[in-house]
């Protein structure tokens, strides 16, 4: 499994755009990049996934450069409710079960 590195914590003011970058230098050809969000006292929840270029949904955008050695989760105009831990995962897309490593994640604190 590819190892990922992301900042341990980040602070942001309400209304700002937040970008969290994840490094995954040894990503494999068939690996996908997935981000999860975890609020306090809850289990993580899937927010976005991509393979290359850009993916956008109602929650976030995911930017993946051509070499795929890193990815950036972008949260537009954060609010206090976006305070959470964000996990970057890299895992293969092959069929079958999938063991993934969540790691410590990035703790985002949104400040009023």
């Amino acid at each position: 499994l590819a190892k990922t590195t992301q900042p341990i914590s980040m602070d942001s003011y309400e209304g700002q755009e937040v970008n969290i970058t994840c490094s995954h230098n040894n990503i494999a050809t068939n690996d996908y990049i997935t981000w999860y969000q975890q609020f306090p006292s809850q289990g993580p929840r899937f927010i976005i996934q991509g393979y290359k270029t850009k993916v956008t949904n109602e929650v976030a955008s995911l930017f993946i450069p051509a070499d795929r050695k890193s990815s950036t989760l972008s949260l537009p105009r954060v609010s206090l409710s976006d305070t959470a831990v964000y996990y970057c995962l890299v895992a293969p897309a092959a069929g079958g079960y999938q063991k993934v490593t969540f790691g410590i994640g990035t703790k985002l604190q949104v400040i009023p």
Binding site: S41, G43, F46, Q49, A93, Y97, I104
Partner: protein, 117 residues
């Protein structure tokens, strides 16, 4: 909506007791997972199962066992609880190779906070 439920939100047990943590999912998912989460260590995979009666060790299986007798139910067993097993335990489920490639979205339960005294 996928629902993953765990038998207890909070549990207090004594050292040496046998502890069962139950997890049930209602979406016919093949894969089920048990994680523990500790401050500063993130989520760590204990065991996962990709089919009934099948199991694979995760990163920290020592001191734990699992049971999957039915597809919807995955149990985590602490044979003899110890204080270092005090933690938040999270169960998750996902499809087995289904959906678009690379999806395998994991759906998590609310967690069980276990305290061993």
């Amino acid at each position: 909506d996928v629902k993953v439920t765990q038998s207890s939100r909070y549990l207090v047990k004594r050292t040496g007791e046998k502890v069962f943590l139950e997890c049930v999912q209602d979406m016919d998912h093949e894969n089920m997972f048990w994680y523990r989460q500790d401050p500063g260590l993130g989520l760590r995979l204990i065991y996962f199962s990709y089919d009934v009666k099948m199991k694979e060790k995760g990163d920290i299986p020592e001191g734990y066992s699992v049971s999957r007798e039915k597809k919807e139910r995955f149990s985590l067993i602490l044979e003899s609880a110890s204080t270092n097993q005090t933690s938040m335990y999270l169960c998750a489920s996902s499809l087995f190779g289904g959906g678009a490639p690379g999806t395998y979205e994991q759906y998590f339960g609310p967690g069980t906070r276990l305290t061993v005294t």
